[in-house]
Symmetry: C2
Subunit: 335 residues, 2 copies
């Protein structure tokens, strides 16, 4: 960083140039990590792979998937990896390697880039993931594309649900959506602990890797997905892939005290908010007791059951049933 | 497509929606391909992997890496996969799987997307690659991110060059740069066969997979890279990673008749043009005869040798030596 500040004031990525940026990234991410034969700096990375490999990719685009104004670069770096790790968690896998594509406006302050990479590295370290390659380009708006590999000796698909399965979800739902709303209204982390919890749910979600792995290892989950688009949409994905329906008991949906404090009707946020990155999974009846034993450790809640047919039903507190409305994130619209 | 045209006129991706687009992609790319346990439609793909796996990623951004006006979507689809396959070729690998991240303006005509995907599928079919997953997002400008896996029982790094190695390159250099210039000047494929050759070099480059694999299999190449940024830059990469220098004989650099016809001084395009996607590699002296035997099949040319020290030298027709100027693509600048 000395060479940079020596040039006086803010340096942007165009002035620094791709070559020096890559050199810096290579230094920051160190040489060869376990499982890596060749790291960044060749045409392709060469990694040791398990026989059964997970592959998942996510694209984050400024103004569509995030707002730079609301998203500190370090947290954006963490989140851009963690949303991919959440996909690995939803398969019951263990993440191994990451490659990152980064398209940046030439005028991006290099300090932004170092903060982004520091956050990425931090999240990678927490999950035992090795960054093995990447690509840079210019762009009018920031675009981040991350691809992650993982190991999954026994994985959990979306398509494994059967009528009679019980439906569980981890954590609480709707916090991220409310956190986002509070951010847009100008709240910042620090002052209020309830608000802070909601802001963190949006800014710095944690992938449920330990839970996903425990469920896969014990063959406890029959179908699983992470709640990225919203409970209603993601439950619909499980039902569609499994050729089944579902009944959800609305008063069982886990809602945090913090969300209740800020929202008079928190259910809409919990059903359709998205970006919670909790795990939604179905469990055969015989495995329900074993899953309940995991509840204290992973904050699990049983919220309904899989049914025959293809309908998604919401059951309210009085026992009245109505169709569950599928509302969720549409990625071609602006954030 | 009937359902679409039934709505009357152009339909864009925002109107069609992510859900229906993904359904269409899944139909187009078929169900489970060899080597795939789970394809698109789950949180992550599960693939059968070799023990030693290649991973490479490339990002293409509209107005930086390509111009929509000059690039028909079918060829963009082909090229966005093929530039990654070129990286696999440069390792001497065999490509296996691809995931694609696609960020599109909401107003993008769906016909553009189908053409792009048709081109992608075509190139995947030619190389035996399976598309196993992807992600969509909105964006102000088109952004494409592709990650490819590959098998490389014995791979060729950039860092393997030693003083005394001979330097070879495949095909001819500078054609893509000139093709791009001609496109910008308004020429289109069809009329003139020389111009057509140059335009094709830019619009539809072929990854040198068979050559890369042959060189790796026979342990004939000591160091290898694909010429994506330009001969001078990519040779500098090999030398830097290998801790060596190089001497290039300028009058040996392979230049096509077509390029000579359109450029009085074709050498600059050949040295610094980029996007040729030919293979540049070094060969131990004892292996040179075996590589020469591959020449007729792969159009190989010996252009110089690796030296001790770190200098890059250009030798002209009269034997005069001067430093080789390193000029090439800077990705944070607009195309």
């Amino acid at each position: 960083m000395r060479a940079l500040s020596g040039r006086g004031g803010i340096v942007n990525v165009r002035d620094l140039g791709e070559r020096r940026i890559i050199a810096r990234v290579r230094r920051a991410f160190g040489g060869k990590a376990p499982g890596t034969v060749l790291g960044t700096g060749d045409d392709a990375a060469v990694v040791r792979s398990p026989r059964s490999l997970l592959l998942t990719t996510d694209v984050l685009v400024e103004d569509y998937d995030f707002r730079s104004r609301l998203m500190p670069p370090r947290l954006l770096g963490r989140k851009s990896l963690n949303v991919n790790l959440s996909d690995v968690a939803a398969m019951g896998g263990r993440p191994l390697h990451a490659v990152v594509g980064l398209a940046l406006p030439g005028g991006t302050d290099v300090a932004w880039l170092w903060e982004f990479l520091a956050g990425f590295r931090e999240a990678a370290g927490e999950a035992g993931v090795t960054l093995v390659g990447g690509d840079f380009s210019g762009a009018g708006r920031i675009m981040i594309s991350v691809t992650v590999t993982g190991a999954a000796p026994s994985f959990v698909p979306r398509s494994g649900a059967r009528p009679g399965d019980r439906i569980f979800v981890s954590g609480t739902l709707g916090d991220a959506a409310e956190g986002r709303r509070l951010l847009e209204r100008g709240l910042r982390p620090g002052s209020d602990s309830d608000a802070g919890r909601l802001l963190k749910a949006f800014l710095d979600p944690a992938p449920r890797l330990a839970l996903g792995a425990a469920l896969a290892r014990g063959k406890l989950a029959a179908a699983m997905i992470d709640v990225s688009d919203g409970l209603s949409v993601d439950l619909a994905h499980i039902c569609e892939e499994s050729g089944a329906g579902a009944e959800i008991e609305l008063n069982r949906i886990p809602i945090s005290k913090a969300l209740r404090r800020f929202r008079k009707r928190p259910l809409a946020a919990a059903l359709d908010g998205g970006e919670d990155f909790e795990l939604l999974f179905t469990v055969r009846l015989r495995n329900v007791p074993r899953v309940r034993r995991l509840s204290p450790r992973f904050a699990l809640t049983e919220i309904g059951r899989i049914t025959a047919g293809r309908r998604l039903i919401a059951v309210d507190a009085t026992g009245r049933k109505k169709p569950l409305k599928i509302r969720g994130w549409e990625h071609f619209r602006k954030a």
